[in-house]
């Protein structure tokens, strides 16, 4: 019952309010990040997984003037997932089209698998949504140097971390059990991706399940749609709006 209230409450938000909330959220996160960055405690275990910051890979996004509304309620959540999967699939397609210098056989296999999984997720959501599906989105990866291994892996890992936090935060909006379970079937695969990419980036440590994405209770930090959409906005030419919770 609480959930129903929650969804209807967020569904009634106007897009304008939603966007303002995104900004507030993003601004707050930036402030907290700044505070944390300014203090390093002597007795803490230093994690080798860095604070996530995709914004440094943003290009000079001009956008294409198209606004895409994800909608609200369950269909909004499914379109939200579809949008994220489109972004991930497009990213790995670029990675495999322009393999970075020195990509070894193991890495090639990993990125080939990731591309396949995300393409499958993308096309599955499109089929499941049918006529309710949003349009195909246009990625903007202009700020990403695909030739540089460290960049490609870092961006991939951050997309996966973001995706996991997005699915985890979206589950509570899915009342239809089959949708919830299906999202669960996908999120654990995204978490597997995040783990393997983290290990690729920071081998033989704790980054695969690091202290950045996971809190002191052993819980992955989830994000609501607004926070996630603000993170991925620089990488999508269309402007995404929604009636989803900011």
């Amino acid at each position: 019952m609480e959930k129903l209230n929650l969804v209807s409450e967020s569904s009634t938000r106007t897009d304008g309010l939603g966007r303002r909330s995104f900004l507030r959220y993003a601004g707050g996160a930036a402030v907290i990040g700044g505070v944390l960055a300014s203090c390093s405690s002597p007795d803490e275990v230093v994690s080798k997984s860095p604070t996530n910051d995709l914004s440094k890979y943003a290009g000079g996004r001009m956008g294409n003037g198209i606004t895409v509304n994800l909608g609200s309620g369950e269909l909004g959540i499914l379109n939200y997932a579809y949008a994220l999967e489109q972004l991930e699939a497009a990213y790995y397609e670029m990675v495999m089209k322009n393999p970075y210098e020195g990509m070894n056989a193991m890495e090639r296999q990993i990125f080939t698998d990731l591309r396949a999984h995300e393409q499958i997720h993308r096309d599955f959501f499109k089929a499941a949504l049918g006529s309710a599906a949003i349009q195909g989105l246009t990625p903007d990866f202009s700020g990403i140097n695909f030739k540089q291994r460290s960049v490609v892996i870092d961006v991939a890992r951050q997309f996966e971390d973001t995706g996991v936090s997005a699915y985890n935060g979206a589950g509570k909006f899915l009342q239809t059990e089959a949708y919830l379970i299906t999202a669960g079937k996908i999120v654990s695969v995204e978490a597997r991706h995040a783990s393997i990419l983290s290990e690729l980036q920071f081998p033989n440590g704790n980054a695969f399940a690091g202290d950045t994405p996971i809190d002191g209770n052993g819980l992955e930090r989830s994000r609501n749609p607004g926070a996630v959409l603000a993170i991925v906005a620089p990488f999508i030419q269309e402007t995404l709006t929604s009636g989803l919770m900011a």
Binding site: Y167, I181, K185, A191
Partner: protein
């Protein structure tokens, strides 16, 4: 009730709160507080937030209590397994020690958290036999065996949490906690699979040398009534990798039951 306030509260319970309080403590206002003591209090704060969301203790529905105790049983098994692995004299390769320490840390945190949420309704920790009645006699003396059993627990755990998600739909804050554990188990699972020379993801229902029951049904290719093979032109193997499948509670108990002490 404003659920968003609760969720915000839950978010703030984690490391950010710890960091902020630790920051304050370094300023000397609470000089007796250390990061560790604050972190130890975190499950209580989380539990209290969840209790506020659902009422005092008994406010948890019987379904939620059942799911959380089922989760607690699995977390008891995992935490004890890694605790024993760390204290039994098992030779863990140096490059894998931090990894297992991290997994151990999480499983112990999950136990503390679930115990705190359940309060007096938490089941007691049963006695475990990690040789599974002799099937893995060298589990704490042979690292390869240890790693294999670790994979078994982690991959089973992922499927177990996923299988219970539907039963938590009416308790959104608890559902979110369960999902936030679920993905952590998946991260563990992928890493241990990779360490054992497997892909981080599950291809078909390949058991990789473990009991087949752990991977039964992982080879499904239809989702929400849609046959996924053919949508993308990807192989059957890739389609099965892209979706992790659930296990029912009974299936999980049949797998985990092998690790319960028999006497």
């Amino acid at each position: 009730m404003n659920l968003q306030n609760i969720l915000t509260e839950l978010e703030s319970v984690d490391g950010e709160l710890v960091d902020r309080m630790a920051h304050v403590s370094r300023r000397g206002l609470f000089s007796s507080l250390t990061r560790k003591t604050i972190a130890a209090a975190a499950p209580m704060v989380m539990a209290s937030a969840l209790t506020n969301a659902y009422g005092q203790g008994s406010g948890l529905s019987s379904v939620v209590v059942d799911v959380l105790n089922f989760a607690l049983l699995l977390e008891y098994a995992e935490s004890e397994f890694y605790n024993m692995g760390a204290t039994s004299g098992l030779m863990v390769p140096s490059e894998n020690r931090e990894m297992f320490a991290q997994i151990r840390k999480h499983e112990n945190a999950h136990v503390r958290l679930l115990q705190s949420v359940l309060g007096s309704q938490a089941i007691a920790k049963p006695r475990f036999d990690f040789t599974a009645g002799g099937a893995f006699p060298d589990v704490f003396s042979n690292f390869q065996t240890y790693a294999a059993v670790s994979q078994a627990f982690e991959d089973t755990g992922v499927r177990a949490y996923k299988g219970q998600a539907g039963r938590l739909r009416m308790a959104p804050a608890i559902l979110e906690v369960a999902l936030n554990i679920h993905s952590v188990e998946a991260r563990h699972a992928a890493r241990i699979r990779q360490l054992r020379g497997n892909k981080g993801w599950i291809t078909d229902n390949m058991a990789t040398g473990l009991p087949q029951a752990i991977y039964d049904g992982e080879n499904i290719t239809h989702q929400l009534g849609i046959e996924v093979i053919g949508l993308t032109g990807k192989s059957r193997a890739e389609v099965t990798e892209a979706f992790d499948e659930v296990l029912s509670k009974d299936q999980v108990l049949a797998i985990a039951g092998a690790f319960l002490a028999k006497n």
